[in-house]
Amino acid sequence: MSADTRVQSLALLVAAALLGLASSAAAQSRTATLNVTINGFVRLTLSSSGVSFPDSNPDLVPQVPGTPGPLAITVKGRTAADANLRLSVLASDDLRSGVRTILASNITWTATGDGFVAGTLNPTTAQPVGSWIGAGARSGSQSLLFRNLWTHPPGTYTLTMTYTLSSP
């Protein structure tokens, strides 16, 4: 055997040894499993933390709009398929100024945006603000109005509206 031939032989021997680890198949496949966990999660965002109704002449402004203007509401939720996502609001009490009160039901609202509804504030039973089916992000607005009557005694009245977003 010539030296060249032996070199060739040795090269083939080494290559074959290495390739002995591999498959002679033209293709080899391996699989991996993808897992994605999506848990229930909701987020509620209001464009403001407060609203005020200025004193106004009941004859000229029978419904006083809140300031700042319409409350922008963003509702985001991950729910089970076809599950309901509900937004409601509950007043902490009637409007109070010292010992004087004005019924919370004098505050009403109109709404824009798919799924959002108009309503009247209530200190006993949470009132629907909107409802949707399935996961997603939705936006709308609430325009709060105060029923301006001559029968309201003077004062600075307050209450807190608590919004609750929930998915089952």
Binding site: A25, G40, V51, F53, D55, D59, P154, S166
Partner: protein, 168 residues
């Protein structure tokens, strides 16, 4: 083509499927909105006309002249126990040049809750038209009368009635 897989010194990684925790759905989010309503003390007095007129009539057939009813609207924002009072005071007698008719000849009857049923004009002491307690809007009417006497000198007699609404 061979399809032999040769494994030397290596082990195929066993497929391990990690079971993640089950996805959960229930979720709640809350947000609050502080509401402030400003109600200031306020008073409103509206008369249905700026003048009342008694047309000339035959005293033999129309012994008492009656003016068109005057509507009176009173609005007041006051404390729940606040006393709201409406009074009227004439500036002087009915006068036409040097001729006069005593102002106490000008009387009225009223309708409406809180309005005095009857009254007589006076140029010295304000006369009560109506009284109320607490805030609210009240409406009534006054019908003025004047005896149609043969003793009146010919002329066009005038006076001014000043109404005053007091809201504590």
């Amino acid at each position: 083509m061979r399809n032999t897989l040769v494994k030397v010194g290596l082990s195929t990684a066993a497929a391990v499927l990690l079971m993640s925790s089950s996805a959960y759905a229930q979720a709640t989010a809350n947000a609050s909105l502080n509401v402030t309503v400003n109600v200031a003390a306020r008073a409103r007095l509206t008369l249905g006309a700026a003048a009342i007129t008694f047309a000339d009539q035959d005293p033999g057939t129309v012994p008492t002249l009656t003016a068109t009813a005057l509507t009176v609207d009173v609005g007041a924002r006051t404390s729940p126990a606040g006393n709201v009072a409406l009074t009227v005071l004439a500036t002087g007698p009915l006068a036409s040049g040097g001729n006069t008719i005593a102002i106490n000849n000008l009387a009225w009857t009223s309708t409406g809750t809180g309005f005095a049923a009857t009254g007589t004009s006076n140029a010295t002491t304000a006369q009560s038209v109506g009284t109320w307690t607490g805030p609210g809007s009240r409406a009534g009417s006054q019908t003025y009368t004047l005896p149609n006497s043969w003793t009146y000198a010919v002329g066009t007699y005038t006076t001014t009635l000043n109404y005053t609404l007091s809201v504590p």
